[in-house]
C-alpha cells in the first residue's frame, strides 16, 4: 500500500510538472503575438546569449572538427579512403555534433544563468513585486529569453559548424596531407539539403528547450538561496537530457523526411 502511495504521488507530481511546463510554454509563446512586447529585453538577451557564447561555441566547434579529422584517419585508412576526411567531418559535425554540442554548451551557460537569475528573483520576491506592479513576469522575463534563445542558437550552431569544418581542414591539410581543394569539395558534395535543414531546425528546438527549462525551473524555485543553487543544477541536467532525447526524435524525423527534401 505504501509503495502504491509513493508511486501514485510520483505519477501525479510528474503529470503536474508536465502540465505546468506546457502551460508556461503556451503562455510564453502566445505573448509574442500580443502587446506589449519587451523589445529592449529581447535585444539585451540576444546580446547576452549570442555575443556572450561566441567564444565557447567557436572553441567547441574548432576542436570537435579537428578531433573528427584525426579520428577519421584510423577509420578511413583501413579502406584506403583517407581522402574522404572532408565528407566525414562535414557529416558528423554538421548533422550531429555542431547542433548538439552547441546546445549542451548553452544548456550549461545560458540554462544555468536563466534558472539562477529567475530563481533569485523568486526567492527575493522580485517576481511578486513585478506582479504587484502590474507586469506579467512571463511576458517580461520568459518570452524574451525564449525568443532570444530560439533566434541565437541557430546562428551559434552555424558558427560552430563552420569553425568545426575549419578545424577539420587544418588537420586534413597539415597532418593527413590532403589537398585543400579535395577536402572542401568532398565536404560540400557530401552535404544534402536535409542536412542544412537539420542543422537549423535542431537548434531552434534545442534553444526552446534550454530557455524554457531554465525559466520553468527558475520560476518554480523554493527554499531560499539554497534553492537557487538546486534549481541551477536541475536546469542544466534536465535541459541537457531533454536536448539529447529531442535530438534522437529529430534525427528520426529528419531521416523520414530526407527523401522528400533532397529531391
Amino acid at each position: 500500500m505504501r509503495v502504491f502511495n509513493v508511486l501514485s504521488r510520483a505519477v501525479v507530481s510528474s503529470i503536474q510538472t508536465i502540465q505546468s511546463y506546457t502551460l508556461l510554454s503556451v503562455r510564453a509563446v502566445a505573448n509574442i503575438f500580443s502587446r506589449p512586447v519587451y523589445w529592449r529585453e529581447i535585444v539585451l538577451q540576444m546580446d547576452r546569449i549570442g555575443v556572450g557564447s561566441l567564444t565557447i561555441v567557436a572553441l567547441t566547434g574548432f576542436f570537435t572538427g579537428a578531433v573528427m579529422a584525426i579520428q577519421s584517419e584510423g577509420a578511413l585508412r583501413r579502406y584506403g579512403a583517407v581522402g574522404m576526411t572532408g565528407q566525414l567531418v562535414a557529416l558528423t559535425v554538421i548533422r550531429e555534433l555542431g547542433p548538439v554540442l552547441s546546445a549542451l554548451m548553452l544548456a550549461g551557460r545560458i540554462g544555468a544563468g536563466i534558472a539562477s537569475e529567475l530563481g533569485s528573483m523568486v526567492v527575493s520576491e522580485q517576481i511578486n513585486a513585478m506582479r504587484a506592479l502590474g507586469t506579467d513576469p512571463i511576458r517580461r522575463l520568459v518570452t524574451p529569453r525564449i525568443l532570444a534563445m530560439v533566434l541565437m542558437l541557430p546562428v551559434l550552431t552555424i558558427v560552430c559548424d563552420a569553425i568545426g569544418m575549419v578545424g577539420g581542414w587544418i588537420i586534413a591539410v597539415y597532418k593527413l596531407l590532403i589537398s585543400s581543394n579535395q577536402y572542401w569539395s568532398d565536404a560540400l558534395n557530401a552535404l544534402q539539403f536535409s542536412d542544412l535543414v537539420g542543422t537549423l531546425v535542431k537548434p531552434v528546438v534545442f534553444g526552446f528547450i534550454i530557455a524554457m527549462t531554465g525559466c520553468y525551473v527558475g520560476l518554480s524555485t523554493t527554499g531560499g538561496t539554497e534553492g537557487v543553487g538546486r534549481s541551477t543544477t536541475r536546469a542544466v541536467v534536465s535541459a541537457s537530457i531533454m536536448v539529447i532525447v529531442a535530438d534522437f526524435f529529430l534525427n528520426n524525423l529528419l531521416i523520414y523526411f530526407a527523401p522528400l527534401m533532397n529531391r
Binding site: 506589449p36 527575493s124 522580485q126 511578486n128 513585486a129 506582479r131 504587484a132 506592479l133 502590474g134 507586469t135
Partner: protein, 263 residues
C-alpha cells in the same frame, strides 16, 4: 475597503490561514502582529491577489477578487502599493527605474514627467541623491526606503507593509516608522502593517504627525487618543485570529497567548 470573509489558505496540505475574517475601513491602519510563520505575509499576498485562497471571499471595494484573472487584477493592484520584506527591489534596474517602474510600464507619461515624479517620491523618503545607484549599492535601510518610494508611485490609496522595520538599527527603524506615520496622517493612506516588532507597532499606534506653521512635520504622542481611533490590531496565532481591537484593548487583553506576545 478591504474585507476577508472566512478565508482558508493552505500550501501543500499545510493549512496556513483558518477562517480568517476582518475588515479594513478606508483611512484605517491595521496592524497585523504574530510570530514568524503565523501567516502574516500570506494575508498581504492574498490582498494583492498574488495567491488564491482555497475557500472564502476577499472583497476589495466590494468586489470579490478571488475569482478575478491576472489581467483583471491589474486594475485592483494599481490602487495598492506593497512594501515587500527586504524591499524586493529589481536588482537589474537602477533606483530611478525601480521607483518609476509603474510609470515606465504604463507608458502614459513623458520621460521628464517620470523623472520629476521619481525625484518627488525619493525626496519623500529622503533618498533623492541615490537616484542613479543600483540596488546592490544600497544599505538595508535604504533598500526599504526605496521600496516604500516605489510602492507610493501612482499614489495608491492603500499601502501594505511587510515587516518594513525587521533587521534594522533603531535609528533607521525610527525613520521608517515616521514615514509610515506621515503617510497615514498627512496623506490619509489606508495601511496594513505586518510585523512582529511590537515596539514599532506601539509607536505607530501612539504617535501622530502634524505640520507646523513653517511647514515642518512634527511627531507627537497623543494623550487623549481620539485621533488614533482608526488604528487597530490583529494578532495571529498559527493562522487564526486570536485577538482584534485597538491598542488599549491589546494591552488589557487577558488571553494567555496575547499576554505572552505583549509582555
Amino acid at each position: 475597503m478591504i474585507e476577508f470573509r472566512a478565508v482558508d489558505k493552505s500550501f501543500n496540505d499545510e493549512t496556513v490561514l483558518r477562517q480568517v475574517s476582518f475588515r479594513i475601513r478606508p483611512g484605517e491602519t491595521k496592524i497585523i502582529v504574530g510570530a514568524s510563520g503565523s501567516g502574516k505575509s500570506t494575508i498581504l499576498k492574498l490582498i494583492l491577489g498574488l495567491i488564491r485562497p482555497e475557500s472564502g471571499q476577499i472583497l476589495i471595494e466590494g468586489r470579490d477578487i478571488t475569482a478575478l484573472g491576472e489581467e483583471e487584477m491589474v486594475s485592483v493592484r494599481r490602487q495598492i502599493g506593497m512594501v515587500f520584506q527586504e524591499g524586493a527591489l529589481f536588482d537589474s534596474l537602477s533606483v530611478r527605474e525601480n521607483v518609476g517602474y509603474r510609470f515606465f510600464e504604463e507608458g502614459t507619461m513623458e520621460e521628464a514627467e517620470i523623472e520629476q515624479e521619481v525625484l518627488r517620491l525619493l525626496g519623500f523618503v529622503g533618498l533623492a541623491e541615490a537616484i542613479d545607484k543600483m540596488p546592490a549599492e544600497l544599505s538595508g535601510g535604504m533598500k526599504r526606503r526605496v521600496g516604500i518610494a516605489r510602492a507610493l508611485a501612482g499614489s495608491p490609496r492603500v499601502v501594505l507593509y511587510d515587516e518594513p522595520t525587521a533587521g534594522l538599527d533603531p535609528i533607521t527603524k525610527r525613520t521608517i516608522v515616521e514615514l509610515m506615520i506621515k503617510l497615514r496622517d498627512l496623506e490619509g493612506v489606508t495601511s496594513v502593517f505586518v510585523t512582529h516588532d511590537l515596539q514599532a507597532a506601539t509607536t505607530i499606534a501612539s504617535e501622530f504627525a502634524t505640520v507646523d506653521g513653517e511647514g515642518r512635520v512634527r511627531f507627537s504622542r497623543e494623550k487623549a487618543p481620539r485621533r488614533l481611533l482608526n488604528i487597530n490590531f490583529i494578532l495571529l496565532e498559527n493562522g487564526r485570529i486570536c485577538f482584534e481591537g485597538n491598542h488599549q484593548q491589546l494591552m488589557d487583553c487577558e488571553i494567555p497567548y496575547v499576554r505572552r506576545f505583549v509582555d
